[in-house]
Symmetry: C3
Subunit: 263 residues, 3 copies
């Protein structure tokens, strides 16, 4: 992990992060991407997703408000990204809550090569065939510990997995890391999970071939920003505004010393 160095590279290169995401958080993930220092673009038409994904630094897929046309666009974009060597990050929002979401997440994983899946415990447990409880898109509980779940899901899905919650866990199936950065107000703002996935896409764009690092660095950066945003927040509204300020003001020189990581 070299969060500061990769953050510096991200701000210099300003990679294009193509996002096919849900209606609820489009503005939020675009703003998180811009605040961090990368360039977001949202495009979901089947007529243009392949062209856009092929020239992007990374592709982020998020199934938070699905419909058939969007699934088709996600699959086309993922295949084009795969062909162009562009890393793809998946956020399986609500997998486990309805059959439609579970099956769609599995279909994307089966039909394309995903570099990183970022989700909550219930979503990843569902995809890994383990027990979990989900209420809407909120994880209520899973039978495995976070570290066990991340490792099991990484093996089952054949990619890097980031399970976020009060403590985040990243695994590539062999190695794992726990990240304790963040703040409880992140759970009171809609789309912070989706923003963490977008930030993962930003780091993936400057760390090709290092998906484990990208996933872990993104969660350190996002968690540190959450800690900074909480300092002056009076509730979720001012915290939300402060989160973009904090992403923008992240300091590459100090960020590695602020990472709360362990095994």
């Amino acid at each position: 992990m070299r969060t500061g160095e990769d953050l510096r590279a991200l701000r210099e290169r300003k990679p294009l992060v193509h996002q096919i995401t849900n209606y609820v958080v489009m503005n939020e993930t675009a703003n998180a991407t811009l605040a961090l220092g990368a360039l977001p673009v949202m495009a979901h038409a089947v007529e243009e997703v392949e062209e856009m994904a092929s020239v992007a630094g990374s592709l982020v897929l998020n199934i938070g408000t699905l419909s058939q046309q969007w699934i088709e666009a996600m699959l086309l974009a993922a295949k084009a990204a795969n062909a162009a060597g562009v890393p793809v990050v998946l956020d399986p929002v609500g997998a486990g809550a309805t059959r439609f979401r579970t099956e769609t997440a599995k279909r994307i994983l089966a039909e394309s090569h995903i570099a990183i899946v970022r989700g909550n415990a219930a979503e990843l447990a569902t995809l890994a065939g383990r027990e979990a409880e989900i209420r809407g898109v909120e994880s209520i509980g899973a039978s495995d510990s976070g570290a066990e779940l991340a490792a099991a899901a990484a093996v089952a899905l054949g990619c890097v997995v980031a399970v976020t919650g009060p403590v985040d866990h990243v695994s590539d199936g062999e190695h794992g890391i726990a990240i304790r950065n963040g703040h409880e107000l992140l759970g009171r703002v809609s789309g912070t999970g989706c923003m963490a996935t977008a930030v993962t896409g930003c780091f993936a764009a400057v760390a090709p071939g290092r998906s484990f690092d990208a996933a872990a660095e993104a969660l350190v950066a996002f968690g540190v920003a959450g800690e900074d945003a909480a300092r002056d927040a009076k509730g979720p509204g001012t915290f939300h505004a402060g989160l973009y300020d904090a992403l923008y003001n992240l300091d590459p020189k100090t960020i590695d010393s602020r990472a709360k990581v362990g095994e």
Copy 2:
């Protein structure tokens, strides 16, 4: 009315509030729901709305940015909610502004059982067959007083009606209440009406069979939050951020004493 008690229950039980709403306010209504203490979920695909609505605490329908597929999804969800005993709240955004919106709102009311309709004077006057003027989605005027209109609409539509404006009026056709909480800056932020409807859905989820109470309590809670948010606001932007803080910080112990209610 027992706003504090129901707010406390809402925060303890964290009911799932399934929202099929418009593109403009999805993030805002999700954040208002989360800030208050419930769990929002947005899902609009015909493949999943019945499954989601059946397990929700309440269903909120909002016609602010309609299209045919979404209407179909709303009808499917409403019928599934009805079958499962889940209360349904309708926000007829822009009824009266175009025939398409007027007819869609009437169709939803005809084909499913709606517990509460929350709208502005022009929207409710349109649905109740009375005179009104609407500009886009903004009520410019109605010939009836708010109390008369709420009562007439409740009788015409056969459900609880909440007509919001400078003074809010809730009626079940027999009894009525006027609520004077709120602040004029609510009229300068897009989607505050939609947020009031989402908050109504939150209270409906913990007050089954007490739709009149749920509608009135929601408007008290949202109005008090508006008053709190206005205190440090410098305009609609800081007011908007402050509104989520205020919803999050609503105090169940004092909220009933702050209700400005009358007949």
Copy 3:
């Protein structure tokens, strides 16, 4: 140019600004419109766009998240607006980034009468048949100077053109003006270009037949608001909230003296 006078008229008349825009910025452009003092309405269904556009003060089209149904709705709305004498403003988001966007922008320009096109240098260079580089929806460079580009595009497209960037340029093909208001944080918030277009629609609604003035006044007003918002901002999040405050607090009495305009 008489920005103060037109701003005062806008706040008195509260014109309806019908916007068919992208999913990312709908809330943001609605809030910018409301904060300034006009009334936004979003409607994109083919069943209602003609009815809505016909009664609006102006129509704003924005191709930021295209799909076929939306293109059809934009064309129907534009023709209805043309027939009713309602000015139409176009934001060709991402023209040059994919063939689909370039062709759609050209098709709208060919099949309807557009009063004002507002875009960045790469988008306008693409539409005017000149060289440019775009990354996603961000202009990376254009071979012409801003003033030359605005003039050439105005001639090529046969309408008023506003090219925004660090310095904004407005041209009707014969006359040109440069506007130096604004702040660099505008580039770190998603959708500020789209908001500038919405504000252009607001001014166009109160300045029929004076499209050049409307385009220039809108960029002065939006730029001055950006300067005000930057004063207390700690980053893009607080700047974003402050931008709505600043639009709301724009003073018609002083705004003309704050315009930084030249040739």
